[in-house]
């Protein structure tokens, strides 16, 4: 039974999709393989870019939750994205609609994943994933922007959807803060970018959930970014998030830190990301840090002849919670502030993406991913023992096709002047011709 929030969300999403679709037909779609640098002189022409994607994927998980072997298929990452510049580049907008609430209601099999009441499955994202309007201006060499709406908090690294692997890393909830109602102020001077935001700390509780009005502004973040040379980016960020998992605001708070370095070649054919992040959960009433989760991730991709190769290595701590009769779900909201332990995951993921094929306006980019995981209790006294729960060895293998209309957006998680120029990753199936056309931005 859809809630009122579901209906509002769906209606809003539909209206936006229709309006962007109309605009898009009047524009060319070639500007998307490359993020536009907001410090460049604003283009005089308004322009809009749209992209839609869906990934039919089959995943086999060996020794997943409850020590079972499962093979499942879905339509994952069902998204329609629009972005553009209006008012001679002074008004930017970003909108992403996500249909996973319809195609991934029970979540996507992904051993190790956690968040929003799902565990060992990636949760479906909200229908209205992102809707941000940014006002952009400059004063001499200083660029500035103010962004308002629902979307990514300026914290951590890009959303995994814009990175080389279909399966998200385990650290998604440690390294990104998304789908929040927010206001962001950003400054850019030469190679330096500074962002600050205030937002509502509450995580979505369902695909149709909208940010709670009474939580808006109870959390904040700051992110500093330096672009030392073309294609290189280093960021450090900090966020104070109030009660993300108890919508009413009485849960544990989070203090989050992130440092990362990113390198992308001009063609998008070489990519490297290294990140470290830590989330400390605090009991606000007792003013004490109670749990801490750390992650380190290294991932890269390279185009080798006709194929793209990717490799990701990750170590991430995950909180364990009481599970429901469905071992892939935990109570939401939780019924107290305790956990059942902390599991340290280590994963190695390899991916191969193959050349795309065209069918009318659509392109399909097949890929294969193979992931090896190992999990152990961080403390020998924790009651949750992953070795008993999962068995061993833990593997996942996936085969899928990225089916896309339009060109992949290069970045996800930055707005206004905080969005550096750069290409989409070749591994995600960017048409090299389209990408190279805009290499000069």
């Amino acid at each position: 039974m859809p809630t009122r929030a579901d209906l509002v969300s769906t209606l809003l999403a539909t209206a936006l999709a229709m309006s962007t679709g109309r605009e898009a037909r009047a524009q060319h779609q070639g500007h998307a393989g490359m993020a536009m640098d907001s410090t460049s002189a604003p283009p005089t022409a308004n322009r809009v870019h749209v992209m839609a994607q869906a990934i039919p994927v089959v995943t086999h998980a060996q020794h997943t939750a409850g020590d079972r072997n499962l093979t499942e298929g879905y339509l994952a990452q069902v998204v329609a994205m629009g972005s553009g510049r209006l008012l001679q580049g002074h008004l930017l907008f970003d909108v992403t609609l996500n249909g996973e609430g319809l195609t991934l209601r029970r979540g996507e099999l992904s051993t190790g994943a956690f968040g929003e009441g799902f565990v060992d499955r990636r949760h479906p994202h909200t229908y209205l994933h992102e809707l941000i309007a940014s006002g952009v201006g400059s004063a001499g060499p200083l660029g500035y922007s103010v962004s308002v709406g629902r979307g990514f908090v300026p914290f951590g690294t890009d959303d995994p959807m814009m990175r080389p692997f279909e399966k998200y890393p385990i650290n998604h909830h440690l390294s990104q803060i998304l789908e929040r109602g927010l206001v962001i102020g950003a400054l850019r001077l030469g190679p330096a970018i500074l962002e600050g935001s205030t937002f509502g700390g509450d995580e979505p509780t369902s695909p149709g959930a909208l940010p709670r009005r009474d939580r808006l502004g109870d959390s904040w973040s700051v992110r500093g970014t330096v672009l030392p040379f073309a294609g290189a980016e280093v960021q450090a960020s900090y966020a104070s998030v109030r009660s993300p998992e108890q919508p009413a605001g009485f849960g544990l708070d989070q203090r989050k830190q992130s440092v990362s370095g990113r390198l992308v070649s001009a063609s998008g054919e070489r990519y490297l990301l290294a990140e470290w992040a830590r989330t400390d959960e605090r009991d606000r009433d007792r003013d004490l840090a109670v749990f801490g989760y750390e992650t380190a991730l290294l991932e890269g991709a390279a185009t080798v002849g006709p194929v793209d190769l990717g490799l990701r290595l990750e170590q991430t701590d995950r909180p364990e919670e009481e599970r429901l009769a469905d071992p892939f779900r935990t109570p939401r909201p939780a019924t107290d502030l305790s956990i059942a332990g902390i599991t340290r995951w280590r994963t190695a993921t390899a991916a191969v993406a193959f050349p795309g094929a065209t069918l009318g306006p659509l392109r399909g980019y097949p890929y294969i991913e193979l992931e090896r995981l190992a999990a152990r209790r961080r403390s020998a006294t924790d009651i949750f023992d992953p070795r008993q729960f999962y068995g061993s060895p833990i593997w996942m293998a996936s085969v899928g096709v990225r089916i896309r209309y339009g060109v992949m957006h290069p970045r996800m998680g930055r707005y206004g002047v905080a969005l550096p120029a750069g290409p989409s990753l070749h591994m995600l199936g960017v048409d090299p011709k389209q990408s190279s056309v805009h290499a000069g931005h």
């Binding site: 409850g66 108890q246 009413a248 009485f250 849960g251 544990l252 070649s265 070489r270 490297l272 959960e281 009991d283 009433d285 007792r286 003013d287 004490l288 109670v290 749990f291 290294l298 890269g300 390279a302 190769l309 490799l311 290595l313 170590q315 009481e322 599970r323 429901l324 009769a325 071992p327 109570p331 909201p333 019924t335 107290d336 502030l337 305790s338 956990i339 059942a340 332990g341 902390i342 280590r346 994963t347 190695a348 090896r372 995981l373 190992a374 152990r376 209790r377 403390s379 020998a380 006294t381 924790d382 009651i383 949750f384 023992d385 070795r387 008993q388 729960f389 061993s392 060895p393």
Partner: protein
Amino acid sequence: MQRSFASLLLALVAFGAACGGDSPSAPGPDNQVNPCPATSSPSKAMTVLGCGDVKPKRITGEINVRGTTAYTTTWNNSSPTSALYVWDVAGNVPTLVDSVLVDGASTLGDVVVTADGKYLVVATEYAGGSIVIYSLTDPHKPQLVSRFTSPETTSGVHTAEVGVVNGRLYAFLCVDPGAAPAKLVIVDITNPAAPQQVYSRFIGTPFVHDTFLRDGILFLGLWNAGVAIWDVGGGGKGGTPSNPVDIATLQTANGHVHNIWWLKDPVTGSSRYAFIGEESPGSVGTSSSGDIHVVDVSNMSAPREVAFYTVPGAGTHNFSVDEQNGILYAAYYNGGVRAIDVRGDLGTCTDAQKSSPVNQTVQLCDLSRMGRELAVGLKDRSNNVYVWGVQYLNGFVYASDMLNGIWKLRAVSR
């Protein structure tokens, strides 16, 4: 450039090979063997008489003991069927005599025997939340009488206390938040074959975790909304179970109000103090936090916190009081069992006996500094413990341990 990227990828592969393997695991709870030997005998250690002859494969939850039979629930079952264990505790070593499977429940968070010993009431979580009522005609063989669920309990019944008000038997259900906020549901189980819901109310910030009924007065643990006191038939304000009347609400230090025990001391005649359990964050098996708060309820309309008890590195959960001897036994998770002298004036102490709860500035009597901690149980074991519940009965203390099952200890004497 291509060569440097190839080198990097090679390095990544090498790192992956290094970090992807398994290493030998420590033995899990299921692999440990009872009995459970002592490692030392500190002077304040409670005497452990025995632990269960079987260590349950499932994680143990709450305990309730009647006569020589104990009932323990199970928590976080990895299936939609939970188990209730029945133990013969006549001897020093509790002996498993039966188990009862409860469908449609991943956790049984609470169990209680009615005062007349005739029925056993079990709370079930999550989806399809309910109470299940068993006949104890044969205490070792509980027989299903009925199961009560309603649209107002479907998110899960966290606890269920039972008690008699004006001759009728009621169950007080603390319902988990779900699509709707947490609520208290009161069910008339005078006819246990046909329970009737008589009241419900959204309450708790954000939870209502437990209740305590005595003499027609109901105490409610409302987490950050503190502790509430209702007249449900004995408060002189006209309240009934179907129409409770608020008497008072009190915020205790640091909130997280979980459970309550209102003490009526049969020796001194005092009914001045209620003991409030604070359940702050913990990691099951490893850590816990939360204090016991002592509230003076001599003026029921204006309760006030006068003292507290804290254990560094551990937090409290459920209580049981040996009222004849004025000794409160508290389950303290990784802190074992704590026996505290609660007879006499708890709200008067010297300055040296005062301190402040963590993150508070108010000075309260500190029961530890007042020398009121009489004994500690289960901290002298070679097994780690994580004690959920405790019950005093007839000179013994029974403890449910999430890691090891059930323990029997000798009660503390004055």
